[in-house]
Symmetry: C2
Subunit: 317 residues, 2 copies
């Protein structure tokens, strides 16, 4: 399977540039001292809809033909991709149908509706959501936009790393979290094309370490009953992301739930910025001590900042 | 009493520029829509030591003669000024003695010591801290650096507003919180000199509304048993700050504790940035509806971000 080329990523960047934030690069004397390194955090928690997912969704929706856009888009997601696709569709003036499990928090349904999308609620099973999605496609002809198994999505997510590499030259290491692998494979591709000497490392929760296991075994091992507070990282790799990671990734470091919460707390306390648990995973990987950070220049993607305040309060208490 | 001139503020800015962060200006589509305005937040919560106080302290310490610097500096504070002065003194290579009440949280004492200052603990009364401070001065000849009753401090704090006015022209309104009045009078002066058409408004907790009362009565009414979670705003005005505010301030808007917490929550949730309760006061003032915000361009100083996580968790729960 051929991965998105540099030209694809550059075209994605041109396409989405008017609609996405060029998010700031944050630094922290505290983290630098703690790790003996220079750290550069790409603040996608400050991206529109609060996550990098808006980049891929926007690229996918803007890549549709006029005829496709008239039919609209559909996806199933209860996470950041749902809101991202809803807002991207609104920008294009396209209809969006988001299939969400009835167990999703009311606030998330409201957020997706707030971006003008139609929410269709289903039972919280894989079968139910696939059936509901198929039904929507049959009824409206909507184009399915998968959250990561899509080159347009991967090329869009790759623009976050591209921006950081443009802003901060000569990185030694680049870390991002891995769930389905859209962000991490995009990061690996941009780095491969633009800074081939920079090594790319994924961070993954031990309680959802299917990517770690898959790369170790050389074949995709699906995530079985994953358990982690990093709710953006529950999904398994697909062939598309697996093959990119197999070719371009140096390693995956797995972390415990306690390490994730500790990293999130440190970022909140020291950098005064809110990241969601998934975004704290690469920070936790750095703190773990398995990666030699001494004297290194290290890029990290803060993948998102969507954590509701009640949950944040519980995690910080 | 003559206030710091534009030349004083410009000189302060040149003096401290190599040592302070030029903090970013944050914006928020959510807040803009909620208020029908364009908002520009000067993120002094991302300043060194987590508060604007570092500007004034640095200006004061760098303004000392060599002979004064050799004697060192002293202050009494359990708040952001303590850490700010400690770090500013370290930059100058000067000794710092910080008198703190024994009731101050251990983490704050540790933070001040972490910046290399000597902490002297006293009983939590005005008499005790003044006695302890006088003792330190007598013993070491240290120079007292008051947290706000000092033109060098006010000129330093004024640089935060100066930077925002440089970055964002044509503001209609400029808001900052008021405690002792160092930040607000500095903001009022910079605005008077650099953008005289811009109106300046203070935000103050109802539970510590001595500045509001003082300006209404035309004389300083000290803060008596103030009660507010905005722990940076407990102090009363001094003649120096009162006279500047009397001349250059348009109004003070007071807010309830609930309004402060609500504003803090909104900033955390929508902007993903941590501000301390004192910094939320001007935001709460804007939300209150007493200020006509429609179509306006509004600057706000996020004065600090120092709130410990346990407290944050309690406030957000």
């Amino acid at each position: 399977m051929s991965a998105p080329s540099l030209r694809h990523i550059e075209a994605a960047h041109e396409r989405i540039r008017p609609f996405v934030h060029r998010t700031p690069v944050l630094t922290s004397r505290y983290f630098d001292q703690r790790l003996g390194a220079r750290l550069f955090f790409k603040a996608e928690n400050l991206q529109k809809v609060g996550a990098f997912k808006f980049r891929g969704a926007t690229n996918a929706v803007l890549s549709l033909s006029r005829e496709e856009a008239q039919r609209g888009v559909v996806t199933h997601s209860s996470g950041n991709h749902a809101q991202a696709l809803a807002l991207a569709a609104r920008i294009r003036g396209a209809r969006a149908i988001i299939v969400m499990p009835k167990t999703a928090p009311a606030v998330k349904l409201a957020a997706v509706r707030g971006y003008g999308a139609e929410v269709r609620v289903c039972e919280p099973t894989l079968e139910a959501r696939e059936a509901k999605t198929a039904e929507a496609i049959k009824e409206t002809g909507a184009v399915l936009i998968h959250p990561f198994d899509d080159d347009r999505i991967i090329a869009g997510q790759a623009t976050a790393a591209k921006e950081l590499l443009e802003d901060v030259p000569d990185l030694d290491l680049f870390l991002a979290p891995v769930g389905g692998g859209g962000l991490l494979s995009g990061t690996a591709l941009s780095t491969h094309y633009l800074a081939p000497q920079t090594r790319v490392i994924g961070g993954e929760p031990q309680g959802a370490d299917d990517a770690f296991q898959s790369l170790k075994e050389g074949k995709i091992l699906p995530s079985v009953a994953p358990q982690t507070i990093a709710d953006g990282l529950l999904t398994s790799l697909c062939e598309r992301t697996f093959s990119i990671l197999q070719e371009h990734l140096e390693a995956i470091v797995t972390v415990t739930e306690e390490e994730i919460v500790d990293a999130m707390r440190s970022v909140l306390e020291r950098m005064k910025t809110v990241i969601e648990p998934s975004a704290a995973v690469p920070v936790a990987a750095l703190f773990k001590g398995e990666i030699d950070t001494e004297g290194k220049r290290i890029g990290v993607i803060f993948s998102g900042g969507n954590v509701d305040l009640d949950r944040l309060a519980r995690l910080m208490a």
